[in-house]
């Protein structure tokens, strides 16, 4: 039973990641492979604050979001000057820099050893100390993130984002401050992703840099693209599919190292096949074509 709950908790955490990346990549058209960096900042802020200052879950969340928001401004900055695949390469650079800081700043992050013993989340004196309670917490935040992004993209603000995605110059000619929107979107998306990191750190109670590599970023963008960028239900379905389907490998009785490789091969092939036969994703509205 705990196994099933574990899968559901993972889906909830990835839901936060995909809706926040969808806001950036799907609705605003800024394809980013740096999302694991925001996720990692949330997780590390949580781990460090709760171990050194015994802060609670909500305080960690706020500090993580502020940190990720600042990173969001920095990552968004190149998008003001460069476009499309060059921007992807820039986000790729930021992802690598954040990863190498997590991995190499040993005095702060303990580097590859990771940070063990993160306390469980505690909300108003109530410990979230088993899978059931954690699932409720994770689903609560996943739901709130989903509703928040839905509200945002369906508002006039969201229409400007879609206008930037479709035609940046046109949006500018209507008097919209395109640069400000791009930065805001990265701040909001990054802060949301850090909430996923916060939940993850409290859930697994041990984090190390390998959870926040470029491969994690590629996985999150694959979930968005396979599900369908620019719709909200699509990426959530994508997240569920990419979390659940590889679990089937577990039941075939393969050794875990083989299963890990096969899982990655599955993600990769699925991404290639989707690009070939359904580039707009399972239920997407926007197909990255220009």
């Amino acid at each position: 039973m705990d196994y099933l709950l574990h899968i559901l908790i993972l889906i909830a955490i990835y839901t936060i990641l995909v809706v926040s990346l969808d806001l950036i990549a799907g609705y605003t058209g800024l394809l980013s492979i740096a999302h694991a960096a925001f996720y990692g900042i949330g997780a590390y802020a949580t781990a460090l604050l709760s171990l050194h200052f015994q802060t609670n879950f909500l305080i960690n969340m706020i500090f993580g979001a502020v940190g990720a928001g600042v990173l969001g401004v920095i990552v968004a900055f190149p998008s003001l000057r460069i476009h499309d695949d060059y921007f992807v390469i820039a986000t790729f650079g930021f992802q690598m820099i954040v990863y190498s800081v997590l991995n190499n700043w040993v005095d702060l992050t303990r580097g590859p050893l990771g940070i063990p013993g993160i306390p469980v989340a505690s909300l108003f004196g109530f410990d979230i100390d088993n899978h059931w309670k954690f699932l409720i917490l994770a689903v609560l935040f996943a739901g709130l993130s989903y509703l928040f992004v839905r509200k945002l993209v369906n508002s006039p603000y969201g229409r400007v984002l879609k206008a930037i995605r479709e035609d940046e110059v046109f949006a500018q000619s209507l008097g919209k401050n395109v640069n400000a929107y791009k930065i805001q979107v990265f701040v909001i998306g990054g802060a949301l992703a850090s909430i996923a990191g916060n939940l993850y750190a409290h859930y697994v109670t041990f984090i190390d840099p390998t959870s926040f590599t470029i491969l994690e970023s590629i996985l999150v963008i694959s979930m968005v693209i396979i599900g369908g960028a620019g719709s909200l239900k699509g990426p959530v379905v994508g997240a569920a599919v990419l979390v659940v389907l590889p679990e089937a490998l577990r039941f075939v009785g393969l050794p875990s190292s083989v299963a890990a490789n096969l899982r990655q091969i599955f993600y990769g092939s699925l991404l290639v096949l989707m690009m070939l036969y359904r580039p707009q994703g399972l239920m997407g509205a926007y197909d990255l074509r220009r």
Binding site: P78, V169, L288
Partner: protein, 291 residues
Amino acid sequence: MLPQLLVNGLIAGSVYALVALGFGLIYSTTRFFHFAHGAVYAAGAYLTYACWLSGLSLYAAIPLAIIGTAILGALLDIGVYRPLRQKGASSLILLLASLGLFTVIQNLISLVFGDDTKTIRGGAVTEGLPIFGARITPIQIAIIIVSALLILLCWVLMKKTKIGKAMRAVANDPELARVIGIESDRVILFTFALGSALAAVAAILISLDTDMTPMMGFYALLMGVVAVIAGGVGSIPGAALGGLLVGMAQHLGVWKIPTQWQDTIVFVILIFFLLFRPQGFLGKAVKKAAV
């Protein structure tokens, strides 16, 4: 200390230059970032290892592996990229597909060969020859010479031969190239084979000097991408200089900065170039479509 760092930078830089050259040639004819190039590079090293394991001498294994890698590159184009091009896919779609291919190939390698370090070095580790107060092994000298020769050859190929001119024509304007009767699909196929062969050479040279792991391709690709962007996309001397810049920055940085940060320096260079000089130091200004 300094001479040794310069030599190390030169060795690393020559390998990055080769990776950057292959990656840059493919980018300039197809206009998308072929991330799977990193996995193709690792495949080059592992093909050599597989041939060598099956009992061939290295002199037979290396050419076979280079040819095999060229075929792999060509197959990626025929199987995935060409159909995507025919559907009019954008460069972002091609990039995402190449990320998928990268993941698949790299994991296939680690599935077949395991994640541990493999080596094709024969014999004991020997002390290098002393030159100008630095030490350099014969294989490291070979790395520098082979890379320099290949870069020169490619430059001649691009400037003087018919296929080279066709490649530049397709890079410059695929539509116009078609109009004058250049079969762009064949030219692109050739570019993939050539670029992949160059990657294989770089990977084999590195594995003769150190070792191989399935993750090696990712690392080499990162350095290659930075080298291409710093040097200027589509320029052969640019790729060579970019590779040297990255290698030197990495190794000279160690002089003042702790070793573990040497890769971070490279990514800071990347961001710097993307922000302030996206065309690189030798490239022509990127044309952004007018309104």
